[in-house]
Amino acid sequence: MTTIAVSTTINGDDVEYLCHADESLLDVLRNRLGLMGSKEGCGTGDCGACSTMLDGRIVCSCLVLGAEAEGREIETIEGMAHGHDLHPLQTKFLEHAALQCGICTPGFLMAAKALLDVNPDPTEEEIRFWLAGNLCRCTGYDKIVRAVQDAAAEMRGDAA
């Protein structure tokens, strides 16, 4: 199978890669670029563990072709912290024990960040429905929702 040359932007950096026509963006990130923070839980868009940002919208990278990324802007979990400075969501997930096994965590963090980008003060119901495409089997979601609420409050500058 012939490969396709792709030039794109990932976490602010120019990146070039070759991929097969049928190769998902998730496989490109994980297998060709070493960005293994995005996880494959289902491969069919049902679990959200591979959530990444594509041109400002949150997507399942398992349902995007690597070839489609040409000229686009991609953000992954690896770009969420700035050096050692964690994003408030990352800090709050740790403080609230919002992860047990942690396999869904990168996807939740990316999806939650996408929510707070468009809605800095979401209700509990808005958080729950926005995150419905991210499956977690360990926590029952309670502490995840609380961590997102707390991070949102901190980012708004509200006293916790």
Binding site: G37, G41, C101, A132
Partner: protein, 752 residues
Amino acid sequence: MSFDASYNEKELNAVGTRPVRPDGVDKVTGRARYGADYNMPGQLVARVLRSPHAHARILRIDTSQAEALKGVKAVVTAADLPDLTDGDASLFAILDNCMARTKALYDGHAVAAVAAIDVHVARKALKLIEVDYEVLPHVVDVDLAMAPDAPVLDETIITKGVTPAPDAPSNVFAHSEFGHGDVAAGFAKADEIVERTFKTEQTHQGYIEPHACVASCNSDGSAEMWVCTQGPFVYRQVCADLLGLEVSKLKVTSSEIGGGFGGKTHVWAEPVALALSRKAGRPVKLVMSRNEVFRASGPTSATSIDVKIGATKDGTITAAEATLRYTSGPYPDTWAETGAMTAFACYDLENVKTVGIEVLVNRPKVAAYRAPSAPMAAFAVESAIDSLAHKIGIDAVDFRIKNAAREGTRSSYGPVYGPIGIGPTLEAAKAHAHMSAPLGKNQGRGMACGFWFNFGGQTCTDLNISADGTVTLSVGTVDVGGSRASLSMIAAEELGIAYEDVKAGVADTASLGYNDMTDGSRGTFSSSMATISAARNAIAVMKQRAALMWDIPVEDIEWKDGQAHAVGASHDNLAPLSVKDIAAKAGNTGGPIAGHSELVADGAGVSFGTHICDVEVDPETGATRVIRYTVIQDAGKAVHPAYVEGQYQGGAAQGIGWALNEEYIYGEDGRLQNAGFLDYRIPVCSDLPMIDTQILEIPNPNHPYGVRGVGETSIVPPLAAVANAVSDAVGVRMTHVPISPPRILAALKAQR
């Protein structure tokens, strides 16, 4: 090994706080490496060919075309996994489940596997493998499998535990019976009796991470494997047994694990990956797809349970009886027996009898799932208890309190209980604000109790003190939900140093002695016991080193607040020596300082929980929403309360999913129709409310800090708690789990 594990009340500083876990930053930045996140040089990609038939004899497998395809480096079938099980039936079942030998026994049963240079070639190769099947009649339903005309899966099975022994083979592997007293006499004394049949459908653990491993066999007989597992030592043993490897030459490293819940206590495709690597002479990476995870790993039993309970008007249960039919997949197992042991364990019963019946069906081999077998039995029993309470007109909580097992009660599974915690969870439920909160239209409330056997087991830890006085702690129980934090806290507590100065990690099988798996709610219970023991051993060493540094007798040294203190009038001018001070001089006082511990952590103690659930049901569509949920459970001592709450909440959520939506759906052809997260419907974030928790702390007498396992019990009550709530809301007793909208609507129609 004279470690005294008995409870010793003392003030705890680190234990009971909520620090950030040591593996946390890796997990929020995407750096943590799970099963599929590891690669080896020259690794091949494996794919497994699976039976499309529920039951079929394998007449012929021709792999020659696949082997001839460029890029294919190995093809294996059962012939490449010769039977080395030496009459061990349970090991043979694992082997046959890894790769079908003579018959494919369920849709998804592996029949061959390939290793190729990439996934495209591997996929192509699968299509080139020819398998001739003789399709046989199949049976997937537990009750139908017991019918006289059911197709028999294994002609060698004659039911055990029945006298006289049947003279013909059947799908019933065994009966097992528990109880005491005379149930017929007990029922004769009852004023009211409830007798009902319940059904539960098969569920999956639903861990988000599919099974994944990288296996590498070398020409010198050594091998290694990176794998997501709840028990690297057990995986090592089973894989070595099945492949004829020397145990110590197989190194198994557990990756970060993306959920297990019992499903990763069993070996699945790992021996196949090793066999492929052995044949190809190269490392092999095998990652299951989600479809494969559902079709070929993990599920629970599907069950059909008859329950009969009688009581007098004053609310005393006079007799209780249950017959529990559990599927075990296509191989014999003891899942019904476990269910039969747990069914009435919450109650103090004069007359009780349970019979467990193990039933073979053409479904995947059943695996443990969080308090395995207990939730289904509890669903049936707690539903019947609820009905009986209504029937005699007594409050459901009071009825349970009146009949609750207590110290001295003979358990339904045999032994007499020591001090146990069901009473306090019930009293807490009765006093909980949730219990008296008002309900709105179409809303209902239910509650239920649950029981589980926790256990401990073989455990081993190494605690090493570095030159700067910080501590590394190597444990052998896989961290499934924050145990590295808990164990670091325990080490800090015992040594008297800061939590931040301890870093716990999970060791591979080459670096630490044997450990049982993280199952049976044992991870924190048993590894904390071994950590305390290792820390105390390290303190003994540090006292000796301080004695050398001070040149005084070791008897004159006392360990307090993380420091060696010289005691006695002659030493009062000596400033205490900290761990750091002692560690800095270790090179000249005898070398590295460490504490080790190898022990058996027995005495975990049984566990009880009580849950309260409110639901709202749309009577026109049957749509059900859980609107409030409370978990009350005894933790003995919560080491890291946030992760204890997490276990309570997670188990409750899984139980709610089981109660309302999750089920394996088979077609007439015996094929699984919902092998994906789209139609195998686990709860999503918008399905659930916040899940309130109340941690009771009644110290476990068999642990130095009073710790009790907390991992499993929380999945036991929800099926019944939800069912009781739905039944309260709609006024019809729901007896079939999952209580899906079509079942609710059908029940409402039948009642009208």
